[in-house]
């Protein structure tokens, strides 16, 4: 892996070539990017494009199986499942992206401090991370939401906290191995402050592996958030969200109305699958040796 420094522009061009090479050699990654684009588009434009109002009830048309007018059928109070599934994309992606963004930023800062200066902040951080990891993570998220209060923001914070250790450890390791590298010493000799060296010389090197982690983590964050709302935390019922739709649909599965739970579940799976594929693909681009 090439270390990115400001004078490294020609080689970065090489990285781009490598990306195209990997994409050509691995069409699955290309498909993953396509699926990702689809998700982003439905999150951005979905609410404007769906055929029905996701909250509009129609008691006369309840529990209809999938048909041409209602692709995914209707639910127990006549809402269009297709519209709800598409509209939910925005909320689910927002929760997971926000959570991952917070853990990315906080994890990076803590990891940089611990990895660069070492000493007692390093010891404390490691103890703290060990303690977080000593909890079954989903259970810890439940406890955090219960303690902070039942709201969407707290779902985001809980998801961020349980993901943070992965980022902090990664950044700490990446920063730590480079703190005495030649280019770092050169930058210090040139008069850069510690903070500047850390931000412009060392941290960018941690970004490629971080991107892989982000992608794999997004899938996990979506699963986690959907799981929390499945057990009744965070999102409250009339709002469309995949986890809660599966939970509501679960009551009807034993009487055969499968479309209520299956379609939001499939969409959830699709999203997680996309991020996992994307993560594996990015890993191939970033580090071809780790391919399994």
């Amino acid at each position: 892996m090439s270390d990115l420094t400001p004078t490294d522009l020609p080689r970065r061009h090489g990285t781009l070539d490598h990306v195209f090479y990997v994409l050509r050699a691995n069409p699955v990654t290309l498909i993953a990017f396509g699926m990702f684009a689809f998700l982003i588009l439905s999150a951005l434009f979905g609410p404007a494009l769906v055929p029905y109002d996701p909250l509009a009830t129609n008691a006369g048309n309840a529990l209809q199986p999938p048909s041409w007018s209602h692709w995914f059928g209707t639910d127990q109070i006549g809402r269009d499942v297709f519209s709800r599934v598409i509209v939910a994309t925005r909320l689910d992606l927002t929760i997971s992206v926000a959570a991952v963004a917070i853990s990315f930023v906080v994890g990076s800062i803590l990891g940089c401090i611990a990895g660069y200066w070492g000493g007692w902040p390093d010891v404390i951080l490691n103890r703290f991370l060990d303690t977080i990891m000593a909890f079954p993570l989903f259970v810890l998220a439940m406890g955090i939401v219960a303690a902070l209060g039942n709201s969407v923001e707290n779902i985001i914070y809980a998801t961020a906290i349980i993901n943070m250790p992965f980022y902090a450890r990664l950044v700490r390791a990446e920063v730590n191995i480079r703190r005495d590298a030649g280019f770092v010493r050169a930058a210090k000799l040139a008069g850069s402050s510690d903070l500047r060296v850390l931000a412009t010389q060392i941290f960018p090197n941690a970004l490629p592996p971080m991107m892989v982690q982000v992608s794999l983590n997004l899938g996990w964050a979506i699963l986690n958030a959907a799981g929390l709302s499945f057990i009744g935390l965070g999102v409250s019922p009339p709002i469309a969200e995949w986890g809660i739709m599966v939970a509501e649909g679960a009551n009807f599965i034993v009487s055969g109305e499968w479309w209520l739970a299956v379609f939001p579940g499939l969409w959830l799976m699709f999203a997680v699958f996309t991020f996992n594929l994307l993560g594996d693909g990015l890993r191939d681009i970033v580090d071809p040796r780790k391919r399994t």
Binding site: R127, F128, D130, T131, I132, M133, A134, F135, P136, L137, F138, V139, L140, A141, M142, G143, I144, A146, A147, L148, G149, N150, G219, L223, A226, G227, F230, I231, G232, L233, G243, V246, A247, G249, A250, I253, V254, S255, G256, W258, A261, V262, G265, L268, M269, V272, F273, N276, L277, T292
Partner: protein, 344 residues
């Protein structure tokens, strides 16, 4: 005397390492109980409380004292096994959890055993026959397994096996109401029924257990299969395998005595992470199948804002996880003869 047995020393070292983790877990649990929204005293005093009774509750709970003092009280209560009072059931949380823990353990352990006995052979076969259908099957299972939300798998299985095929019993709890629950010995219905010799009940309990255990197993077998495959591939391409082959050892000896035993180590290591996921997924599976374990207890408590119950649940799960990790590491020293000497 202790020093004379390096393995015993390693075991004791590992036990000692668990202590700071337990302390950390207790501290975080304490902070979670004190971070309740609003004033815990108002909450615990009840809805009809006036100013005086809130103050009374505050003093009774020790909430008027500084945090470190409160922490000492909290630890003291914990040591006596007191996790507080559940508002919804009216019983001590510790009693409730103890009553429901066997159900959760039975489900989780069955699922983990199922997952290990399918995933490990699958991973080994995939590694020894790369490019064949076993390898592809392994890849599909691994990718699908990590993308499938557990609660969704459970619902799909209910739809297929209960509604469509009609093979599975209704997904409501551990035992159909036509059976009497077996006498309480271990709390594990399968074991208790077998001890009584009541095979009718045993079959009934097993039937109820199959779907939730399969759901949980599908979720946990993905990481195990993935790790087994990767570890087997690494082991098979290493020098000592080449040497063993060159020495003319039979295929099965090379595969199982040499490669597999070495591949087992990283697999056992990942089991820790797998347990973390399994215990979390357990909550969702219990909710889907109305399984009367501690997971569904916590979910019910969450719905009615019964915080003491939720916090007790979180703490018990964390301690369970610490113990499981400890067991894994001790297992590790048992299967890897080098560990004991390295720890010297």
């Amino acid at each position: 005397m202790l020093a004379s047995s390096p393995r015993l020393r390693a075991v004791l070292m590992r036990l000692a390492q668990a202590i700071p983790v337990v302390i950390g877990v207790v501290v975080i649990s304490f902070l979670l109980t004190r971070a309740l929204p609003g004033d815990p005293a108002v909450y615990f005093a009840g809805v009809a409380a006036d100013e005086a009774s809130i103050e009374q509750t505050r003093v009774a709970m020790g909430l008027d004292k500084p945090l470190p003092v409160q922490f000492v009280h909290y630890v003291g209560d914990l040591l006596q096994g007191d996790l507080g009072q559940s508002l919804s059931s009216g019983r001590p949380v510790a009693t409730d959890l103890a009553n429901r823990l066997p159900a959760s353990l039975e489900l989780t352990l069955t699922a983990l055993i199922l997952a290990v006995i399918t995933a490990v052979p699958l991973g080994v076969l995939a590694a020894t026959r790369p490019g064949t259908w076993v390898d592809h099957l392994c890849r599909v299972v691994v990718t699908a397994g990590v993308s499938l939300p557990t609660f969704f798998t459970g619902i799909l299985l209910i739809y297929i096996f209960y509604y469509l095929a009609g093979i599975a019993p209704s997904p409501l709890g551990r035992l159909d109401f036509i059976y009497l629950s077996p006498d309480h010995v271990t709390g594990f219905y399968l074991i208790d029924a077998a001890l009584m010799g009541d095979w009718e009940t045993w079959r009934g309990a097993a039937k109820q257990l199959v779907l939730p255990a399969a759901t949980l197993a599908l979720f946990t077998l993905a990481p195990i299969a993935r790790m087994t495959r990767a570890a087997m591939l690494t082991a098979l391409s290493s020098d000592f395998i080449r040497t063993a082959r060159a020495a003319g050892l039979s295929k099965s000896v090379v595969l199982y005595r040499y490669a597999f035993r070495n591949a087992l180590l990283p697999v056992v290591t990942t089991l820790g992470m797998v347990f973390s996921f399994a215990l979390g997924a357990n909550v969702l599976v219990e909710k889907v199948f109305a399984w009367p374990g501690i997971g569904s207890y916590a979910v019910e408590a969450l719905v009615v804002s019964d915080y003491a119950a939720v916090q007790g649940f979180v703490l018990v799960m964390a301690l369970l996880f610490v113990v499981l990790n400890l067991v894994i590491d001790l297992l590790y020293t048992a299967i890897d003869p080098r560990i004991g000497f390295e720890a010297r």
